[in-house]
Point group: C2
Chain length 357, copies 2
């Protein structure tokens, strides 16, 4: 029996099941990157540890398979990524024999750990190992290009390669070029280093000095923004949406085709916003969006969502995008309140598609 045990980023993140498997083992083998902490030593030092003289994981796995075939119960301890590369190697080697029983214990991956430090960077996401010597450059290039176009958040590990102690930046620069080109210079990127130390910058400011072999990059999508220092993707906190009387009156006119198109020159409140290109949605159909992304803010003292600093819904390009979509779902005035969630989807779709200067 071989238990492949992912330890995760530190001993406090090990699971009970994994620890139990270590306790039950006769023999311990550590992968080449695994450095036991003081905590782990207590569990390991009472066991037989073998294979410390072997310099590569292939030899260590072969040793595990052969010890298992002698009837021993092995705990193979893996630093972090047991789920991807080591499990693959283990299955490939052990599948050559009929009598090797395997069990894989996953760890909290460094990707999930990084996400918990950064805040909430993930919506849908991709995980790519950039400097994987077994991934041909053409394959990596295709993965980067399609992922950039997908609007998935990207967790990119092994951002630089190391060959004979020289650092290789070829794939790192390829990644930067592709993402700058497709997602743009202002894309948010978090650089997380192994000691849980991180910084969040724009892609344009990312350079070779900032990354190490074991850095993890988290690359935001078009919905990723900073909220109080956290990296957050998506923002659909559904606040109560009271339908104010003045807003209701506006939408009654809107449904009758009597609301303004373009600038309402006679309005007593002009100028109401710093940028005002059109008054079509004098009352925002998405209120309250609770999303700081377009400039809205929560006024803590008044316990109210304020759109004062948001010009977004008064921009022509935005109105051109949202108007036909909104009109296709509004059948009666109350839909402005009752279809709030559908309206927020239109808002999000617009944010994804209409890029303003």
């Amino acid at each position: 029996m071989i238990s492949l045990i992912g330890i995760g980023v530190d001993e406090g993140n090990i699971s009970f099941n994994a620890l139990k498997a270590i306790k039950d083992a006769d023999v311990i083998i550590k992968d080449v990157n695994f450095k036991p902490s003081a905590f782990m030593f207590d569990y390991i030092m009472v066991k037989e540890v073998i294979g410390d003289d072997l310099g590569d994981n292939t030899s260590k796995i072969e040793l595990a398979v052969s010890a298992s075939r002698e009837g021993k119960n092995i705990a193979f301890l893996s630093a972090d990524y047991s789920n991807v590369h080591l499990s693959n190697l283990l299955i490939n080697v052990s599948s050559k024999f009929k009598d090797v029983e395997l069990k894989i214990y996953p760890a909290i991956s460094s990707v999930d750990f990084a996400a918990s430090i950064l805040g909430a960077p993930f919506d849908d996401y991709a995980v790519i190992k950039l400097n994987n010597p077994l991934s041909p450059l053409s394959e990596i290039e295709n993965k980067l290009e399609t992922t950039a176009k997908s609007n998935l958040v990207l967790a990119l590990y092994s951002p630089v390669g190391v060959v004979d102690e020289d650092i290789e930046f070829e794939r790192f620069n390829l990644f930067k070029d592709i993402f700058k080109n497709i997602r743009g210079d202002t894309t948010l990127v978090a650089v997380v280093n192994s000691d849980a130390d991180f910084k969040i910058i724009q892609l344009a400011d990312l350079n070779e000095d900032m990354v190490q072999e074991d850095s993890l990059l988290v690359v935001g999508n078009s919905m990723t923004h900073l909220t109080e220092g956290y990296m957050v993707t998506g923002c659909e906190y559904l606040l109560e949406n009271p339908f104010m009387q003045s807003s209701r009156e506006f939408y009654e006119k809107y449904m009758n085709g009597e609301s303004p198109r373009g600038i309402d020159e006679e309005c007593e409140f002009l100028p109401c916003h710093e940028i005002l290109e059109t008054c079509d949605y004098c009352y925002c159909p998405f209120y309250p969006c609770a999303d700081n992304l377009t400039g809205g803010v929560w006024i803590k003292e008044k316990n109210v969502w304020s759109c004062m600093a948001c010009d977004w819904v008064h921009r022509k390009e935005v109105v051109e995008f949202i108007r036909p979509r909104i009109d296709s779902i509004l059948n009666e005035v109350d839909d402005v309140k009752n279809k709030h969630e559908e309206l927020l989807k239109i808002r999000r779709e617009c944010l994804l598609n209409v890029k303003l200067e």
Copy 2:
């Protein structure tokens, strides 16, 4: 202080750090999907539990924020995906106040847990929530199409939607169509249900009866195959590659342009393979690839990798693809041995690009 704590698929997968945070809390709030096990009850029942009467996580998070502002230490227990949706909601709500301290404890995600059951399905991969009401259909369609083209392995959760107790298959069928079209009918798909029960089938055989709201699908890429019942992606186990004398002699002729092109009609060993279109690589340049994918097998008794059942390197399309690439890296005969890893990359690239009948 609010600790958002992902519990993961079951209590045996909880981390020490998470358990410590639960012990340290004054008050427990459980997300709407969280059902404590007997194990968790021991920790929870000695605490004050609030918010059980609230039916949505937004209200529960608001309760957590308000309890925290009263000075309480809250453990907010989340079933599984704390890292994505709940952390987002928590940051959005708490960011409206200056005085709320947060800490997020990741769980072993159900994606990583599923991978550990299936074997080693991941190389590079994407994680997508299909029936996310906040993702517009157009965005999901783009994500599916780009991911299908990317050759990333895909973990797809929420494969079907449930609206008013009716199951919605619209996005599920969209996913199937896109992936069938781009990756093909024979793409391997694992359907993992919440009880860790799974089956691995071909995409063509995936149908509506097999999936539930909480199923997780793992969709393989062009390198994904079955090995002894495990789902495995990638296969680069680097065996010792002895350079046999007969192979060396063949490659000496090859380097001098004296080796056969096409079928060597005069060879005494004909017919040597069931399918033989060309003898250009009578001795496989990738030997031993240790990859069952193209038909090679490990002969346990003889402790040797056998290519007898592999016709792959004798197919014309394969040779057309690999020959110029191999010639560009072979400068001397010994490169066949010394550049084994580079040769295996060419092999993998060919598998990705040349699809045989």
